[in-house]
């Protein structure tokens, strides 16, 4: 007993050093790939390795990264969310409606746009958890609804934020004086930190893992699985709203037709980062690395003047390789 009691607290998830290594190996692999890809571009192009370009890469990671963080929760819980791309466009439009058309002040309009994302997630959650619609179908339907609503609410024309002074500062401003480090990147880092802590340390995070790992066992442990699933989708929805604000603040306008395609990039980032599509496994750090890999690839290939079509081919192959190495690793260990 005495010997048992004096043991130091162990690291949650994966016992001992071996367990810790095993748990973060996928992250290490993803991080190593990121370094290798970045090193390759640094040698291939003289323009890649510079502070300006790194900031540009981080800036372009913001939207995919924000969407991917929310989706990480949904995917760990064994779900999927296809509505995040067009949902983001809808939230951008809603931000325009709140700030420009209704003339609400920033402190009211911006949180309202973020909460609107939460509302999209809430509806997804209700469809999945209460109405038992498979997540793929429920969020596919929401993807179409959001795409249509974004066009309807904006009359299919971009909404410019010229009448909402200070709005673009949310993304393009520099909170840190004297350094060119866009606010959007700061926002991403802050929400990533919060999401990471919640996933590891909060009840929400714990149930996210347990629902994705064994939904029945979770229910038998007295947990209201339906309620928590709704909570997880709604929480992820907040990131849709935030991404909508960040992208429209960056562009200075809400573009109603730009959302489609972002959902697949975000899901790709989550998968590259080691989150299992079958649920129960994944991390925010991995997702951030996955989002960075996508940004670095896009950026580097653009700098090397590789056509957009080929960029997509390469990105697709990277996703396959990432999932394949994950499979091999699981068989070996």
């Amino acid at each position: 007993m005495a010997a048992v009691k004096t043991q130091a607290p162990e690291r949650a998830q994966g016992g001992g050093i071996a367990g810790a290594l095993k748990g973060s190996l996928q992250q290490l692999l993803a991080f190593a790939s990121l370094i290798v890809i970045a090193a390759f571009f640094s040698f291939a192009s003289p323009y890649f390795f510079s502070y300006g370009n790194f900031t540009a890469i981080l800036f372009s990671t913001v939207v995919i990264g924000t969407l991917a963080i929310g989706t990480t929760f949904v995917i760990i819980a064994g779900g999927i969310d296809l509505s995040i791309g067009t949902g983001m466009a809808l939230c951008a439009v809603m931000s325009g409606v709140f700030l420009v058309k209704l003339g609400l002040p920033l402190w009211l309009g911006v949180p309202a746009a973020v909460l609107f994302g939460g509302l999209i997630g809430l509806v997804n959650g209700i469809n999945v958890a209460l109405l038992k619609i498979p997540p793929f179908i429920a969020t596919l339907a929401m993807m179409l609804v959001a795409e249509g609503l974004a066009l309807v609410l904006s009359d299919s024309t971009p909404i410019y934020f010229t009448e909402a002074p200070g709005y673009t500062e949310i993304s393009t401003g520099n909170l840190i004086p004297g350094v060119n480090f866009p606010n959007a990147v700061l926002v991403l880092l802050v929400v990533a930190l919060i999401a990471g802590v919640l996933l590891r340390k909060s009840v929400l995070g714990r149930y996210t893992y347990s629902i994705g790992s064994n939904e029945e066992a979770t229910a038998l442990s007295g947990i209201d699985v339906r309620r928590w699933k709704i909570a997880i989708y709604a929480f992820a929805g907040l990131f849709i709203g935030l991404a909508g604000v960040l992208i429209s603040a960056r562009l200075g306008s809400a573009q109603p037709a730009t959302g489609m395609g972002y959902e697949l990039q975000a899901i790709a980032a989550v998968v590259i980062g080691g989150t299992s599509l079958s649920g129960g496994k994944g991390s925010i750090v991995g997702t951030l690395i996955g989002a960075l890999i996508i940004s670095v690839l896009n950026n580097g290939l653009q700098i090397m003047s590789i056509p957009q079509e080929w960029q997509n081919v390469i990105l697709g192959c990277v996703i396959l390789v990432a999932v394949y190495t994950d499979r091999i690793r699981k068989k070996e260990l």
């Binding site: 009691k5 340390k201 979770t218 038998l220 007295g222």
Partner: protein, 257 residues
């Protein structure tokens, strides 16, 4: 003989036209292992699920510690102190031992769980049950052997000041040494003063750990006997024919079926 901690009388359960449980009476006493035996389809698992609140019983009364209670959901059962260890092990593979043991009843605030406290309590519970086979309480459950998983599932059920533990075939998929460990654990639960219900197909297991044996035959409770009063053969007869000598169902000529 002490008063039963769990006293069930006249419990009936039907699924549509199928009458699965007929007027079941069952007593569970603190500090005793009650084996619940019966052939496949006799209604053992259904009875456990009625007690656990997963199925609602159609009629019958349940008294817990002398007071009539209504168990309508697993949560009701858990609040009374009735825990079930399911055959298919209700554990989440990707979570570690501590996380599984505290699943649904985490300590600390909702925003910041108290991992250190949970880890300490998990270690103490495992130690109190003399579980020594688990190296680290932070091992993911997926990395454990069948016996270790069963041990964790049982330890999870006693972590909460529980008073009655129902074990559904805890040794079904285990090897000899692991069965040994689990049976020792079952015995220790009773020694700690819990009322233990052990569902099993294995007569050797039943005779080794059970104080009393309750036999279900086609949805009827045909006998509740002390283990020392019966032989293997008699129990097997009760299971297969519902009757053994004077024990069990009345002879067909007297029976009112």
């Amino acid at each position: 003989m002490s008063e039963p901690i769990l006293h069930i009388t006249g419990l009936n359960k039907t699924f549509g036209p199928v009458h699965v449980l007929h007027d079941i009476d069952l007593d569970v006493r603190a500090g005793e292992v009650t084996a619940l035996v019966g052939d496949n389809g006799a209604g053992k698992s259904t009875l456990v699920k009625c007690i656990a609140g997963i199925h609602g019983a159609d009629s019958g009364t349940v008294e817990f510690q002398g007071k009539p209670v209504h168990i309508r959901s697993p949560k009701d059962a858990a609040e009374l102190g009735i825990e079930v260890v399911y055959q298919d092990l209700a554990l989440a593979d990707n979570l570690d031992i501590v996380q599984n043991m505290f699943l649904g009843r985490e300590r600390g605030s909702s925003w910041l769980l108290d991992e250190a406290s949970m880890e300490k309590a998990a270690r103490e519970t495992l130690a109190s049950l003399s579980v020594r086979t688990v190296k680290s309480v932070r091992t993911p459950v997926s990395a454990l052997s069948g016996g270790q998983r069963q041990t964790v599932a049982i330890a999870k059920s006693v972590l909460w000041d529980s008073k009655v533990v129902l074990l559904d075939e805890p040794t079904a998929a285990l090897g000899v040494a692991q069965t040994r460990q689990v049976l020792d654990l079952v015995r220790r639960l009773a020694e700690q003063g819990l009322g233990v219900v052990l569902i099993s197909h294995n007569m050797a297991d039943v005779f080794e750990v059970a104080d009393r044996i309750a036999v279900l035959y086609l949805g009827r409770m045909v006998a509740e006997v002390h283990t020392k009063d019966v032989t293997h053969g008699q129990v097997v007869e009760l299971i297969t024919a519902g009757r053994s000598g004077d024990i069990g169902l009345a002879r067909p000529e007297h029976a009112v079926l």
